[in-house]
């Protein structure tokens, strides 16, 4: 029961489909995930695998005309799927904070950055103007902004990318949300700044005990910060485990391929970096039956795949889709054997 208490967000059978030429295609297909307090849950995958779609579904920011969301996203007994917009506005920014990928474009160019942070407070607290100002300065201090007072009156174009991302983070944490969704928060930043921002996120999480959903394609970021990891491919979660297991005993062919395609500094044969054959299928051409990754590992016999791959709990809290992991080997390994 205690375990249940700590659950902040419980996603059950989430399907998010986009309308393409009159038909809906699921970009997120039957997603089951839970986010607990004090936890950083990383969702990893290539571009177009549906990870940002999950974020948009949670926070309810999608084109309502051309998107179909079904399933349950439970937050404190409240189902966020199909939630009334007025009610959702009270949750967004207040209980769920969001950090976006590109700090260059995610701030309004015509508003002073301090006012952009204060705007969140205006809608979710009954602070007066002075209190809001003081809180923004406090937040700027918390996110490590040099000269918070001067920065308050600056416009986004006057700040560097790293500082702008700190403003975006200040907006996200202004109302001390229980859940923070960070959608590729470091992708647009310099490597040196990346590390600072990740440290900042971890600090915030330690102080506030909130749960963070970290969406990224960068396995380095995952290794550094995440507690739990969900690996996604073509709209589905293919493997889910804690971070140690994912890096030490990855099972699903896709996870193993991803890890194998990471450059290793100490690797003697760094020249032959693993490349995953083919490309991610587009939303329209995505196979809807069978193992979606099968086409990219054609040397594995079809018999190894399940007809309708499901998640198997191979050890406690380690889930893998399909049974093909049992027969999977890399192509060049086969070559060596032969």
């Amino acid at each position: 029961m205690d375990r249940q208490k700590d659950v902040l967000l419980d996603i059950q059978h989430l399907h998010t489909g986009y309308r393409l030429g009159g038909k809906f295609y699921d970009a997120a297909d039957d997603i089951n995930l839970t986010l607990k307090k004090d936890e950083i849950l990383a969702i990893v995958g290539e571009s177009g695998c549906g990870k940002s779609t999950i974020a948009a579904s949670i926070i309810g920011l999608y084109d309502h005309k051309n998107t179909k969301v079904t399933g349950d996203i439970l937050y404190n007994e409240l189902n966020l799927v199909g939630l009334n917009e007025n009610l959702f506005d009270k949750i967004r920014g207040n209980n769920i904070g969001m950090i976006f990928q590109d700090p260059l474009s995610s701030l309004n160019p015509l508003m002073r950055v301090g006012d952009q942070v204060a705007e969140t407070l205006y809608y979710h607290t009954d602070m007066n103007e002075e209190q809001r100002h003081a809180r923004v300065i406090e937040l700027f201090n918390q996110v490590g902004m040099p000269k918070p007072e001067e920065t308050y009156a600056m416009y986004p174009h006057e700040l560097s990318g790293g500082l702008r991302q700190r403003v975006v983070i200040a907006i996200a944490i202004a109302c001390k949300p229980e859940i923070i969704i960070a959608d590729e928060p470091t992708t647009a930043l310099d490597v040196t700044i990346q590390a600072q921002i990740l440290d900042l996120l971890e600090d915030i999480q330690r102080q506030s005990h909130s749960g963070i959903i970290l969406i990224t394609h960068d396995l380095g970021v995952v290794a550094e910060t995440a507690d739990e990891v969900a690996v996604m491919y073509a709209g589905q979660i293919v493997e889910k485990a804690d971070v140690k297991t994912i890096f030490e005993h990855p099972l699903h062919p896709y996870t193993r391929s991803l890890l194998n395609s990471m450059p290793q500094a100490d690797d003697e044969d760094a020249a032959d970096l693993h490349v995953i054959q083919g490309t991610v299928p587009s939303l329209k051409n995505m196979p809807r039956t069978g193992d979606r990754f099968a086409a990219r590992i054609p040397w594995i016999p079809a018999s190894a795949h399940e007809a309708e791959p499901v998640m198997h709990e191979v050890e406690p809290n380690h889930f893998v889709r399909c049974t093909c992991y049992k027969e999977f080997h890399f192509k060049n390994e086969e070559g060596v054997q032969a």
Partner: protein, 319 residues
């Protein structure tokens, strides 16, 4: 902020000098001189040569230019070749007429264009937007004079709601009577003219809204829990009016050049009509003064839009 305005003012000075030189030299290059129009068969050629000397027409061009500019500062724009009255007074009466017509047109233009642009942008690709697009294609494609003549035919000739031409009725008396009559004469040209000029503004605003709607900062605003109507008015709309503000100077210039057509069609005694009349009568002094004036108004229009833009857009302020 004030630095931007000051800098912008300083930039205008060389622009004005170059403009006035160009206008002056163009006028100099035209055939004839002030006496050409006054010559009568009995004039003595020697006398004319003497007058040319007296009036300094044999001086270096830059001496003449400086004199011309000096006179201008005293409000002396020269004599009209044709009407034999001071150009300044000739232009003044017309300028007042054009000013009021343009002002009314600008106000009507924005009063029509802004709600239309917002509706089109907000309801992108829905029936409201499509109706506005159709309207825009028509007003953009139909030449102004056709549109105006159709307007006169329908509203003045057939329905008899508005006067066909002129700027004030001869029978109007008293301050309010004259004012009312002037306004009455301006309404139809101003409305028709405004409908033509709305097109660009509607398109700019619509495109601005459609583009800004999907911007990341709008998503950020929504993620803060800002209600949708505030997101639209505070975040989307404010960013979408920037092109219109930048375009304001152009709108003013456009009004001046457009005034030639509308004033001719409505026989409205303004600067545009004076300009066309001066061309056909080869009234070079008036023409020179008008070109200079149009040039100055263009520079002023750009100045105003730059100042307004620096008020609404922090990115272009000089630090």
């Amino acid at each position: 902020m004030w630095k931007t305005v000051l800098r912008r003012f300083l930039i205008m000075i060389p622009q004005l000098i170059i403009l006035s030189m160009l206008v002056f030299l163009l006028a100099k290059m035209m055939p004839g001189d002030p006496f050409t129009g006054m010559i009568n068969p009995n004039s003595d050629a020697k006398e004319i040569a003497r007058l040319r000397q007296v009036y300094g027409l044999n001086d270096h061009w830059w001496v003449q230019y400086c004199r011309w500019v000096g006179n201008m500062f005293h409000g002396d724009l020269g004599q009209s070749y044709i009407q034999h009255v001071p150009v300044a007074s000739l232009i003044w009466d017309r300028a007042v007429n054009t000013f009021w017509l343009s002002l009314l047109t600008v106000l009507l233009t924005y009063a029509i264009a802004i709600p239309m642009g917002i509706t089109a942008g907000r309801h992108q690709d829905e029936w409201q937007d499509q109706a506005i697009q159709v309207f825009n294609y028509i007003t953009f494609a139909v030449p102004g004079f056709v549109f105006y003549i159709l307007g006169i035919w329908l509203f003045s000739f057939t329905l008899g709601w508005f006067p066909i031409s002129g700027s004030v009725s001869a029978s109007a008396s008293g301050f309010w009577g004259v004012l009312g009559s002037r306004l009455y004469h301006m309404i139809l040209p101003a409305i028709l003219y405004a409908l033509i000029t709305t097109t660009t503004i509607v398109q700019y605003l619509r495109t601005g809204i459609v583009d800004n709607k999907v911007e990341d900062y709008v998503r950020t605003a929504r993620s803060k829990g800002v209600p949708e109507n505030v997101v639209f008015n505070k975040h989307i709309l404010r960013n979408s009016v920037l092109p219109i503000v930048a375009f304001l100077g152009n709108t003013i210039t456009g009004l001046l050049s457009g005034s030639m057509i509308i004033e001719s069609v409505f026989s409205y005694p303004g600067m545009g009509k004076l300009f066309l009349d001066s061309i056909s009568q080869r009234d070079y002094t008036t023409l020179t003064a008008l070109i200079l004036l149009f040039g100055i108004l263009t520079l002023l229009g750009n100045l105003i839009s730059d100042i307004l833009l620096s008020i609404v857009d922090p990115r272009i302020r000089v630090k």
